[in-house]
């Protein structure tokens, strides 16, 4: 099953590059959803590789994360676009080509760190730690380099995806509470950010995070 996990991880890496180069908001939302669905199936592959039977718990985790990331989040985000009648372009601080080049640098850094990180538990796939790190770094980069509040939420989701991948593949046994905790965390945070965006839009008539700069010093 290792090759299955490798394929999924390679797919995740591709979605990261896709997001770094994406210029349309709706497109980014769909790619993020695809990334979430890909990662959603990871627990199945991880459980298979460990030779364990597919427990109800793993199936519940898969169902919850696919529903949340593949269906609910995109819906919420698209509704956000419609309600706030946002311009559909991404408007980055850092251009798309530069973003892609930086993405390559981030990938190289992640491979460098990820293969050296001394983990006691042998990960399911050798790609697991590097790709998880790459996804986290891409998320952070998207948060700081994109102008709209909504794209910052997408960046946050990508960051969470990276942590989720790490948790599922590189950590042996973690309590159920914690596994669901990270999903709950993503859900609650996105929900809260949605409310905040809604209010900001009602008050300002725009949701450009770069224009939120009255408070300084």
């Amino acid at each position: 099953m290792t090759s299955g996990a490798d394929a999924v991880l390679a797919g995740v890496a591709v979605t990261n590059f896709w997001l770094l180069g994406a210029s349309r908001l709706g497109h980014s939302i769909r790619v993020t959803a695809a990334q979430g669905i890909l990662l959603g199936f990871l627990p199945l592959l991880a459980a298979g590789a460990d030779g364990g039977a597919l427990s109800l718990r793993v199936l519940a985790l898969v169902a919850a994360s696919v529903l949340l990331k593949g269906l609910l989040f995109p819906r919420l985000l698209f509704r956000g676009i419609r309600e706030a009648s946002i311009r559909r372009e991404i408007e980055p601080y850092v251009g798309f080509t530069t973003s892609l080049v930086l993405g390559l640098v981030l990938l190289a850094v992640s491979l460098g760190i990820g293969t050296r990180l001394p983990l006691p538990h042998r990960p399911v796939s050798t790609l697991a730690v590097p790709i998880a790190l790459f996804t986290m770094l891409s998320g952070l980069f998207l948060i700081v380099s994109r102008r709209k509040a909504l794209t910052q939420v997408l960046g946050y989701l990508v960051l969470e995806d990276g942590i989720y991948a790490f948790g599922v593949l590189a950590v042996g046994e973690i309590p159920l509470l914690v596994e669901f905790g990270v999903l709950l965390d993503a859900f609650v945070a996105v929900f809260a950010m949605g409310i905040a965006i809604h209010r900001i839009h009602r008050e300002f008539d725009h949701i450009d995070a770069d224009r939120l700069k009255v408070l300084r010093g």
Binding site: G172, V178, G181, E203, L215
Partner: protein
């Protein structure tokens, strides 16, 4: 009553109060219900903490919840500050209710979030599991974010957004750290009860994987450190503190930051024991603390907004607490004493700043003058809290800062002592200038006067008396509580 029942009561008591508040029909009654809920929770928390002091740690919930000396100390300070701030909220929002700016809906939302935040912070303190603790911090972040924008307007929404985004990323980092700590237990036969119970982690710390623990502690320090407001991760803090209503600012500064620092204090002994007690984790904390003191000092000198000034004081003092916590047993003791002193002092500061802001119609310090004559209670309280904050004797902060400095010198941490002295010196001069200008001088034309009422006098004199008393004498039971709490962070050799 069964020991465990106390812990459940602390977590669950805010819920019926919030339910009651949602049913009441006037904003003033809603606020009184919230206040009653907080006072009831605080009473239970104090009784439980007293039991911990006399009879040892309490446990409940199948080992997931516990209250020991360290968490009991933090819980008593949390509920004390919450009780004071709830009483102050009656004064502060009372003015808004009279002016018609706080309507029923907003008051109900405030009450629900206020009580929810109390439960979330209590959860952080009573959980015996790093995962559950993290859930508590996450819940705290979400519920307090919307307390900043009780009045949704441009600036408060901007502050809410920054707080929500920056702290969510911080919390995500903390989760990564928690995962890494879980990964480090791979070779330890822990069995049931969850691999993330910190009691178990500490017991078996010697057999944890040191490299993974180091990576995990780094992530936890950066993640929770964002929420503590340690420089350079403090970006959200001045905005949130200055835009939130004053009672909320008092809770933010008085204790929410310490809740996150508590999580770092919990993982510190695990990281130290797993890396061979060479001071690796303590030194990191020392570095962040020292940097925070110096950075905060620079911003304090150039500040014109009263509440932002107090916010940067929080960065400074949380930096001092982190510094103390990295200085070994004596330093941890002093840091815990400083936690109490700072919480009292900062709550007092924000009470006075908030009320003066309402009376003068501005938080710009250049337009506030003659506050001692215009509003003797709040003006006097502000002056006194400034004197205490900058470390003037005989206030308690002077004592705890002196103890931290002594710990630094005894341990030979020259750099820490220098950073501390430089920061404290700059802050002393910078803040004193503002304090004097606001207290004396001519009252501006637009400012309203206010004669002290019994409640406002009590809210100012209570914390002030405590700060003066603690400055000359630390009562026996408190000393005992601090000693046993400090033992949990840094065991005596």
């Amino acid at each position: 009553m069964d020991a465990g029942t106390w812990l459940w009561a602390i977590l669950l008591l805010p819920a019926p109060a919030a339910g009651l508040a949602a049913l009441l029909r006037s904003p003033a009654a809603v606020l009184r219900a919230a206040c009653a809920g907080v006072l009831a929770t605080a009473a239970v928390a104090w009784v439980a903490s007293a039991r911990v002091l006399s009879a040892g740690a309490l446990r409940a919930g199948g080992g997931w919840l516990s209250l020991d000396a360290l968490s009991a100390f933090h819980l008593s300070v949390l509920t004390l500050i919450y009780a004071l701030s709830s009483l102050f909220a009656l004064v502060y929002f009372g003015e808004e209710i009279r002016a018609g700016t706080l309507r029923l809906r907003a008051a109900r939302r405030f009450a629900a979030l206020w009580l929810g935040s109390l439960a979330a912070m209590s959860l952080v303190l009573v959980s015996e599991n790093l995962g559950l603790m993290w859930v508590g911090i996450e819940a705290t972040t979400i519920s307090t974010a919307f307390l900043i924008c009780v009045h949704p307007e441009a600036r408060s929404l901007e502050a809410t957004w920054k707080y929500l985004l920056i702290c969510s990323v911080g919390v995500a980092f903390a989760f990564m750290g928690t995962l890494l700590l879980a990964a480090s237990t791979e070779r330890v036969p822990l069995g049931g009860g969850g691999t993330l119970g910190w009691g178990r982690l500490l017991e078996s710390a010697a057999s944890l994987d040191p490299g993974t623990v180091k990576a995990g502690f780094l992530f936890l320090l950066v993640g929770y450190g964002t929420k503590v407001g340690l420089a350079p991760l403090h970006g959200w803090l001045p905005d949130a503190h200055s835009q939130a209503p004053a009672p909320v600012s008092a809770i933010f500064s008085g204790f929410m930051l310490n809740t996150a620092l508590y999580c770092i204090l919990r993982t510190l002994p695990i990281a130290e024991a797993a890396t061979g007690r060479v001071g690796w984790a303590s030194d990191l904390l020392l570095g962040f603390g020292g940097l925070s003191v110096v950075v905060a000092a620079a911003f304090i000198v150039t500040q014109h907004d009263l509440k932002r000034l107090l916010a940067y004081h929080s960065v400074e003092h949380l930096g001092i607490i982190a510094l103390g916590a990295g200085l070994g047993r004596a330093g941890v003791f002093a840091a815990l004493l400083h936690t109490l002193n700072h919480a009292l002092c900062k709550a007092l500061g924000f009470f006075c700043a908030g009320r003066l802001g309402q009376l003068y119609g501005t938080h710009d310090m250049r337009q506030i003058a003659g506050s001692l004559r215009g509003a003797p209670a709040w003006g006097g309280g502000l002056l006194a809290s400034f004197l205490a904050l900058i470390g003037a004797a005989p206030f308690a902060i002077f004592l705890s800062e002196l103890l931290i400095l002594r710990a630094a010198i005894e341990r030979g941490s020259v750099l820490a002592a220098l950073a501390f002295l430089a920061g404290a010196g700059i802050v002393f001069a910078g803040a004193l200038r503002h304090a004097i200008a606001m207290a004396w001088g001519d009252l501006p034309a637009g400012a309203r006067r206010e004669a002290p009422s019994p409640l406002s006098a009590a809210l100012v004199l209570g914390p002030l008396a405590a700060l003066l008393l603690l400055g000359i004498w630390v009562p026996g039971p408190l000393r005992e509580a601090l000693e046993s709490a400090a033992d949990l962070v840094e065991a005596p050799r």
